[in-house]
C-alpha cells in the first residue's frame, strides 16, 4: 500500500513537471513575433498555486524553484527573483491552506488572488529598487488580472481531469507517505 502511494506521489510530481514543460513549450512556439499589446495569463503560477493548495506534496518547494528558475532563464526574465517570489507565494498559501480547506472556493480564490497581487507588486518593486528596466505597467497588470481570472479554470481542470483534490477525512491513501 505504501509503495503504491509512493509510486503515485512520484508519478504526480513527474506529471507536474511535464505540465509545466508543456506550458513553457507552448509559450516558446514562434507563432507570434509581432508585439500585440496583450499579455496572456501566467498559467504556470496559477497551476503551482492550485496544486500547492490541494496537494502540497505533489509540488514541493525545491521542484517549484527549479521549474521556475528554468522558466526565468528561458523567458529572459531576471533569473531567480520570480522563482523566489513564486516559492514564497506557495509557502504563504500553504500556511493558510488548513483554514481554507473547509470553506469552499471563494475564500481560496480571494487568497490566491491576494498572493498573486503581492508577488506581482514585489517583483516590480524589487526591480524598480535595483534599477532594472522593466515591462510596461499596463502589461503587467493585464497579466495579473488574466492570471487571477484563469485560476478557477486551472483549479477545475486540475481537480476534474488530473484528480488533484483537497484531502478529505476519508482519504487514507495519501497519509502514509512522508517525504
Amino acid at each position: 500500500m505504501a509503495e503504491r502511494s509512493t509510486l503515485k506521489l512520484w508519478l504526480m510530481r513527474a506529471f507536474f513537471v511535464s505540465l509545466c514543460a508543456a506550458l513553457m513549450f507552448w509559450r516558446l512556439l514562434p507563432l507570434n513575433t509581432l508585439p500585440d499589446g496583450l499579455a496572456g495569463p501566467d498559467l504556470m503560477v496559477a497551476l503551482a498555486f492550485a496544486w500547492v493548495l490541494r496537494r502540497p506534496e505533489y509540488a514541493p518547494p525545491l521542484l517549484v524553484a527549479l521549474i521556475f528558475l528554468v522558466a526565468d532563464l528561458l523567458f529572459q526574465r531576471p533569473p531567480g527573483l520570480w522563482a523566489a517570489l513564486v516559492v514564497m507565494g506557495c509557502e504563504a498559501l500553504k500556511t493558510r491552506a488548513p483554514g481554507l480547506r473547509d470553506m469552499g472556493f471563494l475564500p481560496e480564490w480571494l487568497s490566491a488572488a491576494a498572493t498573486m497581487t503581492a508577488i506581482w507588486l514585489l517583483f516590480r518593486i524589487v526591480l524598480g529598487l535595483l534599477f532594472v528596466p522593466q515591462a510596461p505597467l499596463g502589461l503587467s497588470l493585464m497579466q495579473l488580472a488574466f492570471t487571477i481570472l484563469v485560476y478557477p479554470v486551472i483549479v477545475l481542470i486540475s481537480s476534474a481531469l488530473f484528480g488533484v483534490r483537497k484531502i478529505r477525512p476519508g482519504d487514507a491513501e495519501s497519509l502514509g507517505v512522508r517525504i
Binding site: R27, P30, L69, L74, Q76, P78, G80, P133
Partner: protein, 309 residues
C-alpha cells in the same frame, strides 16, 4: 486527527523551514549575482537555452506548422478580397518594376564610373527561427545558428528585405536575436533623402518610434530609414523601413522586414572596421612637403575614396 498530524509534520518542522530559507536565499542570490555580474549569468542563460530549446525542436516545428496551416485555412475565407487586393498591388508593382529596372541600369553605370568595390567581407549565414521569447514583455527570437557557425554578439540579423534585430546571447548551437521592437533595442539610423541621424527606440509596439531627430521638418512620412553605422554597431546602409506618422504626431518606423512571419533570418558577418587612432596624421601634411597653395584647388590624394553616390 490525521489532518493535525500532517500539519504538524509538514509545516512546523524547523529543519524544513531552514531548508526552505536556504532555497529562497539561493534563488535571490542568483538574482543578485545577475544584477552584479550580468554578462556571466547571461552567458549561462545562453548555454541553458542552447541545451533546452533544441530538445523541443522536434515537436516545435510540426506544431508550429500545423497551427500556421490552420491559420492559412482561415484566411481562405477572405480569398476573394485578397485576390482583388493582390491584383491592385500587382498593378502598382509593375510600375515599380519599370522604375527599378531603370534605376538598376543607372546604378550600374554610376558604379562603373566610380569603379566601386563593394565590401567583400559582408557575407551572411542564414538560420531558421526556432522559438520566440515566450514572454509578452520581451521581443526576441532564437535561431538555430551559434558559435559553431561563427556567430558573434552584435551582428545584424535581416530577413530577405529589412533589418530584423541584433544578435545578443550566443550558445553553441543557438543564438538569440533581440528584435527592433524590444524595449532594450536602440539602433542608430539615417533617414534618406534628408540624411538626418536618429535612433530607433524599441517600445514593445509593432512600429517603434524614431527618436533624437535633429530637425523634424526635414523628415516626411514615407522616407527610407537605413542603418547609419554610427558607433560601429551595424554596417551602414541596411534597410530598416519607412517613416510613418502616428496620430500623436510622432515619427515611427514602419518595419520593412515581415515581422508576422519570421522564418529564416540572415545574420550578416561583420568583423569591425579599422579604427582611426592617430588624429594628427590625417590633418597635417606629411613633413617635408610644402603646404598646398591657397589657390582653392583640391589635393589629388582623395580620389581613392570613391563613395557609392
Amino acid at each position: 486527527m490525521a489532518r493535525d498530524r500532517a500539519q504538524g509534520n509538514e509545516y512546523k518542522g524547523p529543519l524544513r523551514r531552514l531548508l526552505l530559507g536556504i532555497l529562497i536565499v539561493c534563488l535571490l542570490g542568483v538574482f543578485l549575482l545577475w544584477r552584479v555580474d550580468s554578462p556571466r549569468v547571461e552567458r549561462f542563460r545562453a548555454q541553458v537555452v542552447d541545451r533546452v530549446v533544441p530538445n523541443f525542436d522536434w515537436a516545435m516545428a510540426p506544431v508550429t506548422g500545423t497551427i500556421n496551416i490552420a491559420r492559412d485555412f482561415q484566411s481562405y475565407q477572405r480569398i476573394y478580397q485578397q485576390n482583388q487586393e493582390l491584383r491592385r498591388e500587382l498593378q502598382q508593382m509593375k510600375a515599380w518594376k519599370e522604375a527599378a529596372l531603370q534605376l538598376e541600369q543607372e546604378n550600374a553605370r554610376l558604379l562603373d564610373l566610380n569603379n566601386v568595390r563593394l565590401d567583400p567581407r559582408l557575407t551572411y549565414v542564414t538560420g531558421v527561427v526556432m522559438a520566440d521569447s515566450g514572454s509578452p514583455f520581451r521581443q526576441s527570437v532564437i535561431v538555430n545558428i551559434g558559435l559553431r557557425d561563427g556567430i558573434v554578439d552584435g551582428w545584424a540579423a535581416m530577413d530577405g528585405l529589412g533589418l530584423v534585430g541584433r544578435i545578443s546571447g550566443v550558445g553553441e548551437n543557438t543564438s538569440r536575436v533581440i528584435l527592433l521592437t524590444d524595449t532594450s533595442s536602440r539602433i542608430p539610423v539615417t533617414i534618406q533623402p534628408s540624411g538626418q541621424r536618429a535612433l530607433i527606440v524599441g517600445d514593445n509596439t509593432s512600429a517603434p518610434p524614431i527618436d533624437f531627430l535633429e530637425d523634424k521638418a526635414q523628415v516626411r512620412p514615407g522616407d527610407r530609414v537605413i542603418t547609419s553605422g554610427d558607433g560601429g554597431i551595424f554596417p551602414a546602409g541596411l534597410l530598416a523601413g519607412q517613416v510613418a506618422l502616428d496620430p500623436g504626431g510622432r515619427f515611427r518606423l514602419r518595419l520593412a522586414a515581415d515581422y508576422e512571419r519570421l522564418e529564416f533570418l540572415r545574420v550578416l558577418r561583420e568583423y569591425g572596421r579599422p579604427g582611426i587612432d592617430t588624429p594628427g596624421s590625417l590633418i597635417a601634411p606629411p613633413e617635408g612637403t610644402p603646404a598646398p597653395a591657397q589657390s582653392g584647388s583640391r589635393p589629388a590624394t582623395v580620389t581613392g575614396e570613391a563613395t557609392n553616390g
